[in-house]
């Protein structure tokens, strides 16, 4: 379970998070909506300790993330797969090596046979052909890069998956493919996921619950239906374009 309580974060004078409270139950997919630049990615990076809060608590599986020692944090991160907005693939490595890096268990990562099979399996899960393994990130399209990023994130068999804008910059067809992939991975792997997005329709499709982050706080959180019934002006304004409310 992931639990954030009163999380504050500011960069200089710019207050990004002003007391965020959020719970994510095991096995569920939470879609986190919000306008660009509101701090969705910052919030996500608090969960795996890439950013520490100025105040507040971040708990994953009952462990306080900001208080973890170096080794404990590294251990926790092996249980959290992170899909970066632009893939963040290592451009000096081919797809096979990139995905292999996601195998975080040292016993497995030193076993060549296991690595070959696991990389193959992960590429298959994200609908990429085995030939892709030999390509370099520069040879891949935007959608393929995102899928390789997802394959790398799931290679270590994580309990949690954090997606940072997995569909941004993609055409509607590829965005639908990625959304379907997020659902497929939740069903097949049973992972707990947080999907950060500003795509309302996609978020409603993939999320068991949807949350809206605006003005540094969670303005609404609940099932997609309840979201559409919200009277909060920030929520209504955000939904206006997609649902004409």
């Amino acid at each position: 379970m992931i639990r954030l309580t009163g999380v504050h974060k500011a960069f200089g004078d710019n207050v990004v998070l002003g007391g965020v409270d959020l719970n994510v139950e095991d096995g569920e997919t939470l879609a986190l909506l919000g306008p660009s630049g509101v701090g969705k990615s910052v919030l996500l990076k608090h969960i795996n300790g890439l950013i520490n809060p100025d105040a507040g608590e971040v708990y994953v599986d009952g462990q306080s993330v900001p208080l973890l020692e170096r080794k404990e944090l590294a251990q926790l991160r092996t249980r959290i797969g992170y899909v970066f907005q632009f893939g963040a693939l290592f451009d000096s490595m081919n797809v096979f090596e990139n995905v292999k890096l996601g195998i975080t268990d040292e016993d497995f990562s030193n076993n060549d046979d296991y690595c070959r099979l696991r990389v193959q399996e992960c590429l298959d899960l994200v609908n990429l052909t085995p030939e892709t393994a030999l390509k370099f990130p520069a040879d891949l399209s935007g959608g393929m890069k995102k899928r390789v990023g997802i394959a790398r994130a799931i290679a270590g068999q994580p309990k949690y998956l954090l997606y940072d804008e997995p569909t941004s910059g993609l055409d509607p067809v590829n965005a639908d493919i990625i959304d379907a992939l997020v659902k497929k991975l939740q069903n097949e792997l049973g992972v707990t996921s947080i999907v950060v997005s500003h795509d309302v329709r996609g978020s409603f499709r993939v999320g068991d619950r949807v949350a809206l982050l605006a003005d540094g706080k969670i303005r609404h959180v609940g099932p997609p239906d309840s979201f559409q019934d919200s009277g909060d002006p920030a929520v209504r304004q955000f939904l206006e374009r997609d649902f004409g409310q």
């Binding site: 890439l50 590294a74 991160r77 092996t78 963040a88 290592f90 451009d91 890096l101 996601g102 790398r152």
Partner: protein, 276 residues
């Protein structure tokens, strides 16, 4: 408007009339804070390096790859520069030495200049441009494209994957390159001296050996180790601290080359004072 200009530069006070006026105390204070921040980050990176040393299975293979790239990749330009340095030193010695000075003195000047100063310093400055710029640009690009965050998110240490191999490879390869640079410089100096000073082989060897002390060679290699650290650690730090976007990478790269070059010259002066 006044408030906006205040925010743009906190070192300037904006009076009611609206004209900017430099506040020296604020300016110095901000500079001091920036310097303290850098010192703290440098110290933290050093601590991280020492903490990551037990992860030798990760950094050792990568160190060999980096050492090959630094050593073999830089060899041609290092030899070319050392060759010219030796030749020019010899030509200038020929211009300055008059008939009252024994000609074998020139051989001593050429060899000592190369071993004590030109070999290590020129090699280090070349590596600051060639290797330092590359390291800062590589790590800076990795920072802005979130590749370093990706490594961390996989529970892996960016220091053992990226910093230790680069710092170790550069620090160990610089003395090796200096040995080649010294030998090439002395060789080209000998060739040029035969032409300009009309010195015999016997006199050149006699002069070179007359002034040579084994300690000089050790000193040359010892200071190369420090130069190697400056040439690699500073760019790695700059790359790691890169700001946002292409402009940030550009600034980090320029800053890395300038800072490591200045540090080389400062270390040269300090080590000469302490060790000679």
């Amino acid at each position: 408007m006044a408030e906006e200009r205040w925010r743009l530069s906190s070192a300037y006070r904006i009076p009611i009339e609206g004209k900017a006026k430099l506040d020296i105390r604020r300016y110095l204070g901000r500079g001091f804070l920036q310097a303290a921040t850098h010192m703290g980050r440098v110290f933290y990176l050093f601590v991280e390096i020492f903490r990551a040393l037990p992860e030798w299975r990760i950094w050792l293979p990568r160190t060999w790859q980096q050492a090959y790239q630094v050593g073999v990749g830089s060899l041609f330009i290092v030899l070319l520069t050392a060759g010219f340095a030796g030749g020019v030193t010899s030509l200038q010695a020929g211009y300055q030495f008059t008939a009252t000075i024994p000609v074998y003195f020139a051989a001593g000047v050429i060899t000592q200049s190369l071993i004590l100063e030109l070999g290590p310093v020129l090699t280090a400055l070349i590596l600051a441009g060639r290797v330092g710029a590359r390291y800062a640009a590589e790590l800076g690009t990795m920072r802005v494209t979130e590749q370093i965050d990706a490594l961390e998110s996989l529970g892996r240490s960016p220091v053992s994957h990226l910093v230790i191999p680069r710092v170790l490879a550069g620090t160990l390869m610089l003395p090796v390159l200096v040995i080649f640079a010294d030998a090439t410089g002395i060789f080209s100096g000998w060739l040029a001296a035969r032409h300009t000073l009309d010195i015999s082989n016997h006199d050149f060897i006699y002069g070179a050996r007359y002034f040579f002390k084994p300690y000089d060679l050790w000193y040359s290699l010892f200071k190369s180790l420090f130069f190697g650290l400056a040439v690699t650690f500073v760019p790695c730090y700059m790359g790691f601290s890169t700001g946002k976007g292409a402009e940030g990478v550009g600034k980090a790269t320029t800053g890395a080359v300038v800072s490591s070059s200045v540090l080389i010259l400062a270390l040269d002066a300090l080590l000469s004072e302490l060790l000679l």
